[in-house]
């Protein structure tokens, strides 16, 4: 695709635009896209583990809360969630809920990641054989000890591939943060388009940058999986 475009469509001006826009785009990546992704994913993971444990706790109230949270987040578009966190909460007149764009974005993305990843983590915990729970309690471990020492380490291995997918997905979804004024890469691209009037060109460039990030991440994913798989037959 890229080669095709390159050979048949790029005038020298196009090339100039691509070059000029590269640095601003990169800046958007480094100062917003990546921090946003990393921080949201980290918080989201903590949320996700908590939610997953609530779901499997067998305590009705907790698993109810978890269910409702997951259902609302998974049932509505991320865009709407961003709007509610930023404009909705900001409108209540409570100063503490009037988040900065970056903070608002982190809240919305963390909530979103938390809900989706909780399902992954729940499934991976459930995928660990019952025998592992039994073996650990038979040597006297408590529920929390079993979880921490035996179940979660194994569940982690199972959930690395789907969580990596979520992570890579999140990188691209951060582009929606532009709606609440975070100047991540896609926002930068829009700003450039606003002066060059070449949306296709600049968006494809942005797409290529996303692709490179995703590619690097998937290489990293492969490494992590290998490390995690050291204790299973291959």
């Amino acid at each position: 695709m890229k080669m095709f475009l390159l050979s048949s469509f790029l005038s020298s001006e196009d090339v100039t635009i691509l070059q000029d826009s590269f640095l601003p785009l990169l800046k958007g990546v480094l100062s917003y896209t990546i921090p946003l992704t990393l921080i949201s994913f980290a918080i989201g993971l903590i949320l996700a583990i908590t939610t997953a444990l609530f779901r499997i706790s067998g305590i009705k109230v907790l698993s109810g809360i978890a269910r409702v949270y997951v259902s609302i987040i998974r049932g509505t578009p991320l865009l709407v969630q961003l709007f509610i966190v930023f404009y909705g909460l900001g409108n209540l007149g409570i100063e503490a809920l009037k988040f900065e764009p970056f903070v608002g974005a982190i809240i919305a993305f963390s909530l979103n990641t938390g809900a989706y990843a909780s399902e992954t983590i729940r499934a991976s915990i459930l995928s660990i054989e019952k025998g592992q729970w039994e073996a650990s309690s038979s040597i006297g471990m408590s529920y929390l000890q079993s979880l921490r020492r035996v179940i979660l380490p194994q569940a982690t291995r199972v959930s690395v591939p789907p969580l990596s997918n979520s992570f890579i997905g999140l990188v691209k979804e951060t582009s929606l943060a532009s709606t609440i004024l975070v100047s991540e890469m896609f926002r930068k691209a829009q700003e450039i388009v606003a002066t060059t009037y070449t949306p296709l060109l600049v968006y494809v460039e942005a797409g290529a940058i996303y692709w490179v990030i995703c590619f690097l991440l998937s290489v990293l994913q492969g490494r992590i999986e290998n490390r995690m798989n050291r204790y299973v037959k291959t």
């Binding site: 054989e129 025998g131 038979s138 040597i139 006297g140 529920y143 194994q154 050291r230």
Partner: protein, 245 residues
């Protein structure tokens, strides 16, 4: 040593153990046999409190659990440490090496220092003939070796009683011997053991008593030579015919 009184257990409507009572003296080896679904595993799991009976009580050494009353999780955990369970499918922790598997109980539960736990684990693994395989992961071990790690892990918490649930039935025929060897050694050392197994030769050689279970009840019990050669009950005869075939 073990005193089980009027233990009953049901799953939903299915009564699996019917008012079972059982005494085992210190240092004795009891073998349980019986058809599939007769409740052998459930009985063993009750001794380890992996299943909670609806009724009855169990005493091991000094500690008693009365199941008609409320029993706290902490009591159950304490009680559990008196028995070491060896599972049919090993249930080793796949993410720990052999020695880490054996150290896990002492470190996490008994809060023993790491170095000391390791020392002890090495001792036990040497005893079951695995001192050369200490640093490998379970998947790198044969079935017989894995089961021996399972035995070592159970022994590491110094249980008063060892429980075995068909410890050799998932093994290839030639690997069975290794595990039986280790079990015989434990018996010879005077450990109290309750073993579910269909290995006749083991029972004959090692057991002080054999129980035949059917349908949630202990149908017949006796010394192995007597029970195997001159069973009294019709049901026992039938079953012995089947497995000797």
């Amino acid at each position: 040593m073990i005193n089980m009184n009027n233990i009953s257990k049901q799953f939903g409507d299915l009564v699996v153990l019917k008012d079972i009572s059982l005494q085992v003296e210190q240092g004795k080896v009891v073998v349980i046999i019986g058809p599939s679904g007769s409740g052998k595993t459930t009985l063993l799991r009750c001794l380890n409190v992996l299943e909670r009976p609806e009724d009855g009580s169990i005493t091991i050494d000094q500690q008693t659990l009365k199941f008609s009353e409320k029993v706290s999780k902490k009591e159950i955990r304490e009680f559990r440490k008196q028995t070491g369970m060896v599972f049919q499918t090993y249930n080793l922790f796949p993410h720990f090496t052999a020695v880490q598997n054996v150290m896990e109980g002492p470190i996490t539960v008994q809060k023993v220092a790491k170095a000391k736990a390791r020392e002890k684990a090495v001792d036990i693994l040497t005893k079951v003939g695995l001192h050369e395989k200490m640093e490998v992961y379970p998947y790198q071990l044969s079935g017989g070796q894995q089961q021996r790690v399972g035995i070592a892990r159970a022994m590491a918490i110094d249980p008063k009683v060892m429980l075995f649930d068909e410890p050799t039935s998932a093994l290839d025929p030639e690997l069975v011997g290794e595990v039986l060897q280790v079990m015989k050694k434990l018996a010879a050392e005077g450990r109290t053991m309750v073993v579910v197994t269909h290995e006749m030769s083991f029972a004959k050689e090692v057991a002080d008593e054999v129980l035949f279970m059917d349908n949630g009840m202990i149908v017949e019990r006796g010394e192995p030579s007597v029970l195997f050669e001159q069973p009294k009950e019709e049901r026992t005869k039938q079953f012995l015919n089947l497995i000797k075939q």
